[in-house]
Assembly symmetry: C3
Homo-oligomer: 324 residues x 3
């Protein structure tokens, strides 16, 4: 299994939240808070990555996550190389590792990788030279660690200590890297109660998250929770499996409406990783309500990515110092 | 209707030239002249946008306008995020406003927006937070204000005072945002005479520009003018409407040739917004003649965009100061 | 014929290695060595292109060469404008020279051009203003001068003086700009022996490289050589011409295996321009062996491009000084 922590104790790769120590995550969250802007809406920045090169290597299309990592890197004064490589050209051409070795030979310091297949970020991290770091920007339905961290940060900023909280995640958890990383992050911080809410087909196998409650009915799922996280519905799944209700029917049964939200605590916050299908998994009024922290999640996402980039840059600096 | 000027009197958005005061436009032109290069062909630059982030959000493909805005922003030391979002993915995914809110949450300060539908830049400007500015980089056939400004600047640099000039715009004015913005700019500066020249199907409704003369015959249209502006012919229109002559026939009837240009004043300048269809709307020799200022338009375009960016950055700075 | 050297003796364009003086190439190689990183894997950088704008104008798709030029320019502190213009849109729209004139009017200082047609970089270099430089980033099967330089640099770093060396180039030399530029570079440095190895259909006409030996059998081709350069097989050629063996058959007859490499000198280096088809033109073990310098070629490529960019920037500076 990949070692994300270097022998000197510093974070080198961020592929998964599994197995990370809570102290390290706390450190990342503290650094993220440092990278949140002040009241004048000015983007925070410093020169932590001056002289470093970050390659955004997206084998799966993305606008928002790519933009978030790109802005994070540029605001730390890195050079950024954007490479949108679709899977078909990857199959036709050289192997993915040869692409990595080629870019590494151009002095890429940090790879930000998104891929539709489980294991690709891990494989890359296992293969790069000792002064190179790899960050997972979304991996199949397996892992999306910076999303997990930004969700944790968002909850912490609103609710403080996680351990007393009840959190409901609603939707297609089974196929969601967002849900997996959020759940891992919440478990690490000993969340009071974690509920997975959705139709049977959308819930992961019970053994994957033994501590999570599994609820098929949304009102019961929302009862008394402090945090509601609605997931994006991948509409393309509706066709594949007749067991799953289509858009309108889904909204009727599982859509997060103001009426249903009343089952949660009055000060519950509403989260969504975006992009939203308004009227499918979430009602438009709820998305724009005072309880919604959806846009804050986006802001926190840039801060988390700046923190992670700055953290692994410390590893690289330490490696360089050790060479001289 | 959208207010482009902030309560403190500063320009905040630039969506249309309609309703702008002449003094403000004069100020933008003066600033544009400041951003024109000296004799050594060196690109002008300063740090007016240091610490700002500009997002080029192009829902309609563009190479030259995107490049012009990108270079303008970079030469003012901004961070630039390029987002080419085609309309189909916009329809499938989240709403355009959710895309905007997401990017705004990443601390985008200025949105540069191009869209094929009338009203989209306006809608975005109405929706963003008070410290965010929106610039229209081309909107359907409605508005292209920086193009209007660069045309005005180009004429002014060659001819000085606009009020004594006769200007002919030739081609598909009806479907041209370039022509609309140029006409508005010229009217604001009380152009002596404005002529729309083209087949009936290519002229806008008379009530839209009551002051403009409408001429169906090119030699008469060019008679004695100081400025000739040829428009790009959208060749795809030829198929849709049998009333409109095709490429060769169009050139025979309305193409700007050296012979026809003799009807204009001997010192008349020739303009074209680009990209040109040589041999359709303009003869190649005319495009490359001493009277052509087509390449100067491009240079002036970067300067105008730098001026507009620097101007709205002043609004943002004032907003920030007012917060603290 | 295009003059690549300006009247003041400085390199202005780099379109081909043909006709360059050896002293100039030595100067470029010395500068490239300066841009190679130290032992701490840090990317070298300086401000040689501060205030300059480089446009990467790729009419033919490329990931690695575009990335190499982009990083080279950014690490010299240039502004970089990436323009991926596919050939179809080029045909539909304005002429290629009008695209160039438009970009030139935006104060592009250096064009980096890749095109599938012979003559395009040359035509552009003939057409630009006197303060603008053009670099060829790959032209049909004709020329790829920075690749030739990086190959020369790589050999020199490992073997020192070129004149005593025996070099074998294996594969589809006839259709390879890489092979042509490498051969020109090696001839300029009076390589001891140059062998073209491949099936008859893959070898260029004898009169093009009269000094090169032509060998149809790989073991004989490798006998006693100091340098082995395997070329990428364009698999799409297999279908067109039944004379050429397909992938597996090609590997059986011409694939570079460890067994065959034993015919070369024991300290022979193995080169490949990338991207590799492992198992077609080269065995995976050979690509990763201690004799392989394939990744060093990539690193040297960035250094060579930095050197060439910095060199033509000197021409531009001299031109500017002469204006004032």
């Amino acid at each position: 299994m990949l070692e994300q922590i270097a022998p000197n104790g510093l974070l080198r790769h961020l592929i998964t939240l599994d197995g990370l120590e809570r102290a390290l995550v706390e450190q990342l969250l503290a650094r993220s808070r440092y990278y949140l802007a002040g009241a004048d809406a000015r983007a925070p920045r410093d020169a932590s990555l001056h002289g470093f090169t970050v390659a955004n290597l997206f084998f799966e299309a993305s606008t928002r996550t790519r933009a978030s990592f790109e802005l994070a890197a540029k605001r730390l004064d890195a050079e950024v190389l954007n490479l949108d490589v679709n899977t078909s050209s990857r199959i036709k051409g050289e192997s993915i590792l040869d692409t990595i070795y080629t870019l590494e030979a151009m002095h890429i310091d940090i790879f930000v990788v998104r891929d539709a297949s489980t294991g690709v970020p891990d494989m890359i991290a296992e293969s790069v030279a000792p002064h190179v770091c790899v960050l997972n920007a979304g991996e199949s339905n397996t892992s999306h660690p910076t999303q997990g961290l930004l969700d944790l940060l968002t909850i912490q900023l609103h609710k403080g200590d996680i351990s007393g909280l009840r959190v409901a995640i609603i939707g297609d958890i089974r196929h969601s890297r967002v849900a997996r990383s959020a759940a891992r992050a919440l478990e690490l911080f000993e969340v009071g109660e974690l509920r997975f809410v959705g139709p049977q087909e959308f819930l992961p196998d019970a053994e994957e998250f033994p501590q999570a409650a599994r609820v098929h009915e949304i009102d019961a799922g929302l009862d008394g929770v402090d945090v509601v996280m609605a997931l994006r519905i991948q509409k393309e799944r509706f066709d594949e499996d007749s067991e799953i209700p289509d858009g309108e029917e889904y909204f009727r049964r599982f859509g997060l409406t103001g009426q249903r939200l009343k089952h949660a605590r009055p000060d519950a916050i509403v989260m969504h990783p975006g992009p939203m299908n308004r009227g499918t998994e979430i009602d438009s009024d709820v998305a724009d309500s005072a309880q919604s922290v959806i846009r804050e999640q986006v802001t926190n996402g840039v801060a988390v990515r700046m923190a992670v980039l700055a953290q692994v840059a410390e590893y690289i600096r330490a490696w360089r110092s050790a060479q001289s």
